[in-house]
């Protein structure tokens, strides 16, 4: 039986367990003088049985599924002929790959040798036995679980409390997924980065001024030495994020101030959702727009002024990214400005201040920590933004502060290094994970600072 039919099978058995458990509860209740004599509702006893039928079997199934490929592969590779086993481990790995592909019915890299087809047959026969064992074990566990629960059903069994304990454990498990995700991110990025730093020293990566990740495939190849100095990438990222913030910070802030302090109700109710559409547009659309409309316009405009503008200038990507961030800045600032107590405004008006004076000299300073927090979050988003720069910024790593030239960013390099097929032991692919680590750490620091500032600020006025 395949895993999915097995799953269905367990689900059906569990439903049957529910019905049987409830029936037994009713039966026992009749013997003891009505449903009132039971500790829990009859349905609770049914659920209790269903849980005992399903949960152990499912746990077994999960463990089995995660271990089976590794065990199968190990068993098959042990049965390979001796001359193959003596080959270096990479070669054995390649052969095992061929075997797996053959089993899955995919194309195989080379002509199928008799050893490989024999190993594939061995694999298939083992797999069939494994399937049988799995089915038997799962069926056995459901049966055992059912018997166990069946025997436990008594009027004094605290079925509801036990179910609630199970549910509570499930809830806790769900809430810890966030932590597992973070741990998963850190580990996955960290491990590959450590492997990368075995090829390239950390100092060279962080402070090197040259980035050309093309490593030579053959020894005698020209120009493929591979240089992994990431400073040009950091500079490019900061340049584009800087341009974006120059657009987004003033416009977003003024939008928030105008909409919350000045705009009549009607304007506000139209303008706010319209601006929120900007936040909902997928970034790939912005990237397309930046590459196809904004960049040529800027190039044409620059050339009419006699400037030489790269067709993938940092300016185009930065401008469009800035527009994308406007609603983000404005909605965060809006929250912060609205959190400033009305009494402070009233006090300023009573002293004869105009609206703009109140805003600039009372509300803005009071809201400053929150606004700074919001801007930091926006910076972190600009640094991590991928599609706009992949489509509109360049690939060559220039160390320049000129926004009219093409620069490349950390995210662009991650994408170019990892898209397509890769082998996982060349510094070229591992470099992407090192860049990912830098990106994750940088945005993490920005986010933590920003979130703390915003929270502190909120508490201040609550």
């Amino acid at each position: 039986m395949t895993a999915s039919t097995l799953l269905l099978f367990v689900a059906l058995l569990s439903a049957a367990g529910f019905l049987l458990g409830r029936k037994r509860a009713f039966g026992i209740a009749d013997a003891h003088g009505g449903v009132k004599s039971l500790h829990s509702l009859p349905g609770h006893y049914g659920l209790y049985t269903a849980i005992w039928v399903a949960v152990p079997a499912l746990l077994l199934l999960i463990v089995w599924q995660s271990l089976e490929p590794a065990i199968l592969s190990e068993l098959v590779s042990r049965e390979l002929p001796a001359e193959i086993q003596e080959l270096p481990p990479e070669r054995v790995g390649l052969i095992m790959n061929d075997v797996k592909n053959l089993v899955a019915g995919n194309f195989v890299s080379s002509a199928v040798s008799p050893e490989i087809s024999e190993a594939a047959e061995h694999w298939l026969s083992l797999e069939t036995t494994f399937r049988w064992i799995r089915t038997l074990l799962v069926a056995g566990l459901t049966g055992l679980g059912f018997l166990f629960a069946w025997r436990l059903i008594r009027p004094e069994l605290r079925a509801r409390n036990r179910i609630e304990r199970v549910v509570r454990v499930a809830l806790v498990a769900c809430s810890t997924i966030a932590i597992f995700t973070t741990v998963g991110i850190v580990l996955s990025v960290l491990f590959e980065s450590i492997r990368f730093f075995q090829y390239v020293p950390v100092t060279e990566f962080l402070f090197g001024l040259e980035w050309s990740p093309q490593t030579a495939i053959r020894e005698d190849q020209v120009g493929g030495s591979g240089a992994f100095g990431a400073v040009p990438l950091f500079a490019g990222t900061l340049l584009i994020a800087g341009i974006a913030m120059l657009v987004a910070a003033p416009i977003g802030l003024m939008t928030a101030i105008y909409l919350s302090e000045y705009a009549p109700r009607a304007v506000r109710s139209v303008a706010k959702p319209l601006l929120e559409i900007l936040a909902g547009i997928p970034t790939v659309v912005y990237g397309f727009f930046a590459a196809l409309v904004v960049a040529p316009e800027i190039r044409g405009f620059g050339e009419s002024l006699g400037l030489s503008v790269a067709s993938e200038s940092a300016l185009a990507a930065g401008l469009v990214m800035g527009v994308m961030i406007i609603p983000f800045v404005s909605s965060l600032s809006d929250d912060v400005i609205n959190a400033v107590p009305q009494a402070m405004r009233d006090g300023a008006y009573a002293l004869g201040a105009t609206k703009s004076e109140t805003t600039r000299q009372v509300i803005f300073p009071a809201a400053l920590p929150g606004i700074v927090g919001g801007l930091l979050l926006a910076v972190s988003r600009a640094i991590g933004e991928t599609m706009i720069v992949v489509m509109a910024a360049g690939l060559s790593a220039n160390l320049t502060a000129n926004p009219l030239e093409a620069v490349t960013t950390v995210t662009v390099q991650i994408v170019t290094l990892l898209v397509g097929d890769q082998e996982f032991d060349s510094p070229k692919t591992l470099a992407a994970f090192a860049l990912g680590l830098v990106l994750f750490v940088a945005t993490l620091i920005l986010n933590v600072i920003a979130l703390t500032v915003v929270r502190k600020y909120r508490e201040q006025y609550e």
């Binding site: 509801r160 609630e164 549910v167 509570r168 809830l171 769900c174 809430s175 997924i177 966030a178 932590i179 995700t181 973070t182 998963g184 991110i185 990025v189 416009i251 977003g252 003024m254 105008y258 302090e261 000045y262 705009a263 303008a271 319209l274 601006l275 559409i277 909902g280 547009i281 997928p282 970034t283 790939v284 659309v285 990237g287 397309f288 727009f289 196809l292 409309v293 406007i326 404005s330 105009t354 609206k355 703009s356 600039r360 972190s380 988003r381 991590g384 991928t386 489509m391 991650i414 994408v415 990892l418 898209v419 990912g436 990106l439 994750f440 945005t443 993490l444 986010n447 920003a450 979130l451």
Partner: protein
């Protein structure tokens, strides 16, 4: 006397200074009002700039994209020559499949333009018709082998270049060397137009086919289906897990370091760049668990991990807005904490949770960066049929097409963007509707 005059003088001086002060105040008032007006104008300009950008973006994509929904077709009289298709008359499916349908298309074009001679001219002539035309004929013949020997009047898709010419995207006044169509070809096209053989029709291929190297045969259906499978996985994972996490954190969790840590983690994950989730998927799902590349299942997993924080945060907001009196009433009637939560609080919070989840789904639908990391960026012609088939997603398809140099692909990219935006608008509208319909003010 002197006293009074003194007092008078003082008073006069006082009124003089007062009037001077008033002048100053008036002068500064004017300045302050001007500053006020300026400040207000800055605000208005900011709002207008934002909205203007939105309008320009939408208008440019709409203008580029709407012609792609119509495609140029050429009417050809194709003689299904038995000598070409099936010389032995076996009508075997394999023979029919492998026959040279290109020659039939070429033949029918040569009947219209008998003066086209020489290899290059003939190749140029065939280049007016899509590479998909032979496959169209192949499909017809395979479906009904009795057609062989007849002459069919068919509408076959024109090539991308001809289509662009008909839509005015190729400038006839340019010198020949800078155009994708030569003078000769344009002359042929004009003849075809005169004979009434060229029509524009609804571009069915765009909505029903997978990707293709030929723009006139390329469609978004494969990408749409890929996106659909991914979203199903994302929804099935992120909604139950997100709701469960929110219920625990809001209703059961004790306030301690552990829950604080979880909360900080969730807030932080919501702000982690999406590409980092792609790296997670690549390292954990593909390399560690050995899941297949390009599968919607893996894409859905990555997107689920990514949208989970959004779902948790909005579900918590929905739970918090349920007034405590509901819980107290349930507990007072003897319900357990679990019963109070699941029978009373959660049902009241479900509309809010759904709204948040739909918005999270909309964001997941538009996301492409993490999908590039897990190999969903491949050129995939077949429409995926399940969760494990190689697939691509709608935004990734847009990214792929945006890279193609042909003008016809620019048009199709914009059309795909329009379709994507339509889906997003529909999802957001559903979320707004749910909020309006079920929102309760307590």
């Amino acid at each position: 006397m002197s006293n009074t005059s003194n007092a008078k003088r003082e008073k006069g001086a006082g009124s003089k200074t007062a009037s001077r002060a008033m002048d100053k105040v008036h002068a500064s008032l004017r300045k302050r009002y001007r500053a006020e007006k300026r400040f207000r104008a800055y605000g208005l300009i900011s709002v207008v700039v934002g909205i203007l950008f939105l309008v320009v973006l939408m208008a440019s994509i709409l203008a580029k994209g709407y012609p792609a929904f119509r495609q140029t077709f050429i009417t050809l009289d194709v003689y299904l020559d038995p000598g070409v298709i099936d010389p032995e008359g076996s009508r075997d499916a394999e023979v029919l499949r492998l026959a040279d349908y290109n020659r039939l298309v070429r033949g029918s074009l040569q009947i219209i333009f008998p003066d086209a001679s020489g290899r290059t001219e003939r190749r140029k002539l065939v280049a007016l018709v899509s590479n998909g035309a032979p496959f169209q004929i192949q499909g017809l013949v395979m479906e009904d082998p009795s057609l062989v020997g007849q002459t069919l009047t068919l509408e076959v898709p024109a090539s991308g270049d001809l289509d662009m010419l008909m839509k005015g995207r190729i400038d006839r006044s340019l010198p020949e060397s800078e155009r994708r169509l030569s003078d000769l070809q344009i002359g042929w096209v004009d003849t075809l137009i005169e004979q009434g053989r060229i029509h524009k029709r609804w571009n069915k291929a765009l909505m029903t086919r997978g990707d293709s190297r030929d723009p006139e045969m390329a469609g978004i259906w494969g990408a749409v289906k890929g996106s659909f499978y991914m979203l199903v996985v994302t929804l099935l994972l992120s909604f139950p897990i997100g709701v469960a996490a929110a219920v625990y954190l809001d209703e059961f969790a004790p306030r301690n370091r552990w829950t604080d840590l979880i909360e900080i983690n969730i807030n932080n994950l919501a702000a982690v760049p999406s590409i980092v989730f792609g790296l997670l998927g690549l390292a954990v799902f593909l390399n560690f668990f050995g899941m297949p590349r390009s599968a919607p299942l893996v894409g859905g997993l990555v997107l689920a991990v990514m949208t989970l924080p959004t779902v948790i945060i909005s579900s918590r907001a929905a739970l918090t807005s349920v007034p405590p009196s509901i819980r107290e009433a349930a507990l007072g009637m003897g319900a357990s904490k679990m019963q109070a939560t699941f029978h009373h609080v959660v049902p009241l919070a479900i509309p809010g949770m759904l709204t948040g989840t739909i918005i999270g789904m909309a964001r997941a639908l538009g996301e492409s960066a993490p999908l590039l990391m897990i190999g969903m960026v491949a050129f995939i012609v077949d429409v995926p049929q399940g969760f494990m088939d190689p697939a691509t997603a709608l935004p990734v398809q847009i990214y792929l097409w945006a890279d193609s140099p042909e003008r016809a692909f620019v048009e199709r990219t914009s059309a795909a963007i329009l379709v994507l935006l339509a889906f997003l608008i529909a999802m957001n509208a559903l979320a707004i509707y749910l909020r309006r319909r079920f929102e309760r003010r307590w």
